[in-house]
């Protein structure tokens, strides 16, 4: 505490030596981060770099005691136990997924949990007139009685900000506020941040769009692998997008991947002119004229940021598990195949291992054995009756082959670690004997050792002549495992490159360029 006094008064927020661990993963490693009075401070980094975790620590979503380190706000040490306590001192976070109730009006949403009331009876006159004031401040010409569900995402974002203002905000945290906004709405939102800045309200802006970051931010902090890389002052330092990207991705990636000799053959699977629309927002195209292929023995990566439409594409191909009004053709070994339902896709030798193994991949309350055989019960049954001895034999084979660490194959899936759960999901799909495997974030949330094992399995499958499509948000993984890379952004394939010619910078560039065109 021997800090210069003047410096202290200048800083509104200081987070010191924050470390936060999850079972098996260090999400934040001794991170320090500070925000000056009335500045816009951008926080950038790859998916999984720890940005959201840091903000959750700050806002009390992860309560005091679940992390180590200190948080000082306006010179006082704060120990938030929940989000209400952080909002009380004027720290308001606006999450990427908006937290508005769709069938309530703007007014009702603005004062939810903070109702203008006397003895439990809501004072609607005061609420509505306050709402009008707040809407004026954020420049939203809507009636306070409009239901949230009838407004576009851009306007909903403004309602969130108005809600923050109603709480006497001093530091506003926005988690990718423009991710789902169009150009005009994004511009409007950035202008609003600049306006707040002139009124002395500081903001933390988490964003993947480097162009808007360099446009409005006063300082930029780069996070990578749960650690602060550097903080730049845009008014003093020379800040280029190249420099930011290098900071975001530059890390040593040797020895993290098993070596492989690729032996790439004929095209085994291809989709042509693939289009799909969002199941609810009917006019939003989630897959936009996709053409892609994979060869025998090839591992093809699909890189892109969250929300680029990679999972949606994979699931729409896998028996229309996602999306509406799907059109396009799928070919296997040059023959058109029917993938209009999941069982047909499986029968045609396609497997899709989901990114969310708990929600979509496993039946957690069931045994490992039952999970492994679920997608191909026909193989261990005759006339609909399961041959239990055979089932035990094959599931044990997979346990040994994939090295699933468990006390027994009769153990429930819920009691396994993330890495072993992922191996069970893989076993399930290997047992369905596919020719084409789509792996969606196969190493998400599992530790380094298990990752290495998964990569080894992928290599083995490729050497057996299967075609593998791997979706991953971790660029080093894409570069370390794949033969060829597609880059997706906004539902489109925006780039394609062989891995020899690829680099993290190059992939990031093609994503960013695409986004700038959209801006």
């Amino acid at each position: 505490m021997t800090k210069d006094k003047q410096n202290m008064s200048d800083v509104i927020l200081e987070m010191r030596n924050i470390t936060k661990t999850f079972p098996g993963v260090k999400a934040l490693d001794n991170v320090s981060f500070s925000v000056k009075q009335g500045e816009i401070h951008a926080l950038v980094g790859e998916n999984g770099a720890g940005k959201s975790t840091l903000m959750k620590v700050l806002s009390g979503v992860y309560p005091y005691g679940s992390y180590s380190g200190e948080i000082h706000f306006e010179g006082k040490e704060c120990r938030f136990h929940d989000i209400n306590q952080s909002e009380e001192v004027g720290l308001v976070i606006i999450h990427q997924e908006l937290a508005l109730i769709p069938y309530l009006s703007i007014t009702e949403n603005l004062f939810l949990g903070n109702e203008r009331s006397r003895n439990g009876i809501i004072d609607w006159n005061e609420s509505v007139s306050r709402t009008k004031e707040l809407l004026e401040k954020v420049g939203l010409p809507e009636s306070p009685n409009t239901l949230i569900t009838n407004m576009g995402v851009g306007k909903q974002q403004l309602v969130e900000i108005a809600k923050a203002l109603s709480k006497k905000v001093k530091l506003l945290i926005l988690d990718e506020p423009t991710a789902s906004l169009n150009e005009t709405d994004s511009e409007k939102l950035l202008q609003l941040l600049l306006q707040f800045k002139s009124q002395g309200i500081a903001s933390i802006l988490i964003s993947h769009k480097l162009s808007e970051v360099s446009k409005v931010a006063d300082s930029i902090t780069i996070l990578r692998d749960g650690a602060t890389i550097e903080t730049m002052d845009t008014h003093k330092d020379v800040v280029t997008e190249d420099r930011i990207i290098r900071g975001m991705v530059g890390r040593d990636i040797t020895h993290r991947f098993p070596p492989r000799d690729s032996n790439v053959g004929e095209v085994i699977f291809e989709v042509k002119d693939w289009n799909a629309y969002h199941p609810i927002h009917e006019h939003r195209k989630v897959s936009d004229n996709i053409n892609m292929h994979v060869r025998k023995g090839e591992v093809v990566g699909i890189a892109g940021l969250m929300g680029a439409g990679r999972t949606e594409l994979a699931m729409s191909i896998f028996g229309r598990a996602y999306g509406a009004r799907i059109s396009g053709k799928a070919y296997k070994n040059g023959q058109e195949i029917d993938v209009s339902s999941i069982d047909k896709a499986i029968a045609n030798g396609i497997a899709y291992a989901t990114e969310d193994r708990k929600a979509y991949g496993l039946i957690l309350i069931e045994e490992i054995k039952d999970n492994i055989t679920l997608a191909n019960l026909e193989a261990i049954s005759s006339s609909g009756v399961i041959n239990e001895p055979q089932e035990l034999t094959v599931t044990r084979e997979y346990r040994d082959k994939l090295n699933i660490k468990c006390s027994s194959i009769l153990q429930l899936a819920v009691n396994l670690s993330g890495g072993n759960q992922q191996k069970v999901v893989l076993s399930k799909w290997l047992f369905s004997n596919p020719d084409i495997l789509i792996l969606d974030e196969p190493t998400r949330g599992i530790d380094v050792g298990a990752k290495y094992e998964i990569y080894t399995i992928i290599n083995r499958l490729a050497s057996e002549g299967k075609g593998i499509i791997m979706i991953s948000s971790e660029l080093p993984e894409i570069l370390g495992v794949c033969d060829r890379i597609y880059v997706m952004s906004d539902g489109k394939i925006v780039d394609e490159m062989p891995t020899q010619e690829a680099s993290q910078e190059k992939i990031m560039m093609s994503i960013m360029k695409k986004q700038e065109v959209a801006l």
Binding site: D343, S408, L410
Partner: protein, 403 residues
């Protein structure tokens, strides 16, 4: 029927006490329910001064609970797939009313009408299953509507009166007993012989499972435990048969019920469709992404429930020897309670046929015992409510402790 054995591959510890406690811990659901059933039977045996276990009363217990058990088989599948069916009592009454009108008023052939009634049950199930599985209206709503619709239609059909009596062939389903080939005075020897055959079959099946488990390297309970278990089961089966033999022998309805129970136990444990129903209830999305046609499967569980409710409806009508407007009222609650007391989980994916049957007997013994004691229907309901809550609490408590 699975053998509740500690199927662990970890190192064995042969100390008696440990084996016992391990056995209990790993199968707390199965054994807990069985122990509860035995305990409540002992309690009522003493409370009723032995009336509960008299041959005539045991026979009555089977007759009174046959339709609850039959419907519980279908309900279990629906609960395992994550839903519920509130309409079964009304559907049973409605089918009974159809049987009454066709057989008694129109004089149709009883066998033809029975077949027709099963088809009607299937169609009712298909109707409800359609709304639940394809239109995605929650089953609670659909079957609540069904409960009202089919009760209303029953009233329309019987016009507020009882239709009867049924042809004697039909009423024999519930009132008759299997013939005795030995014609011994006051003792039904055929029943004992059937009991012996069933016991031998059960031991054989258990032995085969055990041999398989040893062959595939699973730890099994020591042989002495296995023998003790077989002795207990055989004693229970033979005791049960002895009691019934001392009265009029095996009731016809048991001939329908027992194979059904065995069939559904097999279906849930050994077949692809059974496995898929558990998967559907355990995680619908994961099941769908594994290629299970989840809407069709859910639809079929409702069709199945409709058929079983129709069968139960006919058994009720045959037992009362008339189709009445308020037949089957409140049955849905006994059926649902049987499944939950038997260890089924309200969130789906968990539950066994044997558990549901034990649960049904548990409810049956409570109803029967309290009636003998002269407990009013008012208190019976309240007590049953508490027991249901307690049973589910026990389950939830166990689950939270183990996780």
């Amino acid at each position: 029927m699975k053998v509740p054995a500690t199927m662990n591959e970890t190192s064995t510890n042969n100390s008696l006490l440990k084996t016992l406690s391990g056995l209990f811990k790993n199968n707390i659901r199965e054994y807990g329910m069985l122990i509860a059933l035995v305990a409540i039977m002992i309690f009522f045996y003493f409370a009723t001064e032995g009336i509960l276990m008299r041959p005539v009363n045991i026979t009555n217990l089977v007759l009174q609970n046959s339709y609850v058990i039959i419907m519980a088989l279908g309900m279990l599948l629906i609960i395992v797939s994550g839903w519920i069916d509130l309409s079964v009592g009304s559907v049973a009454a409605f089918v009974g009313a159809i049987a009454g009108v066709l057989m008694v008023k129109w004089g149709w052939n009883w066998a033809l009408v029975m077949a027709l009634c099963l088809v009607v049950g299937g169609l009712i199930g298909a109707w409800q299953g359609y709304w639940v599985a394809y239109v995605k209206i929650p089953a609670f709503i659909v079957t609540l509507a069904g409960m009202l619709i089919f009760r209303g239609l029953t009233l329309v059909m019987v016009r507020g009166e009882a239709i009867g009596p049924f042809p004697v062939e039909f009423s024999r389903i519930s009132a008759g007993f299997i013939p005795d080939y030995f014609k011994m005075e006051g003792f039904h020897l055929t029943t004992i012989i059937i009991g012996v055959i069933v016991s031998i079959l059960l031991i054989w099946a258990d032995l085969r499972t055990r041999r398989n488990q040893i062959k595939y390297g699973f730890e099994v309970t020591p042989f002495s435990f296995f023998v003790a278990k077989q002795v207990l089961i055989t004693a229970a089966v033979m005791g049960f048969c002895y009691l019934m033999a001392s009265y009029k022998g095996i009731p016809n309805v048991l001939v329908i019920m027992f194979p059904l129970v065995a069939m559904y136990a097999f279906l849930t444990n050994q077949t692809v469709i059974g496995r898929r129903i558990y998967a559907l209830g355990g995680n619908e999305k994961a099941a769908r992404l594994s290629g299970v046609n989840t809407p069709r499967l859910l639809f079929l569980t409702f069709v199945n429930m409709g058929v079983l409710a129709a069968l139960a409806g006919m058994i009720v009508a045959a037992r009362l020897n008339s189709a009445t407007p308020n037949a089957g009222e409140g049955f849905e609650l006994d059926v649902i309670a049987a499944c939950f007391i038997g260890g089924a989980s309200a969130s789906g994916g968990i539950g066994t046929v044997i558990g549901a049957v034990i649960g049904a007997f548990f409810v049956g013994v409570m109803n029967n015992g309290m009636s003998i004691l002269g407990v009013g229907i008012d208190w019976q309901q309240a007590i049953k409510g508490f027991v249901l809550l307690l049973a589910v609490f026990f389950d939830v408590y166990n689950k939270s402790k183990s996780s």
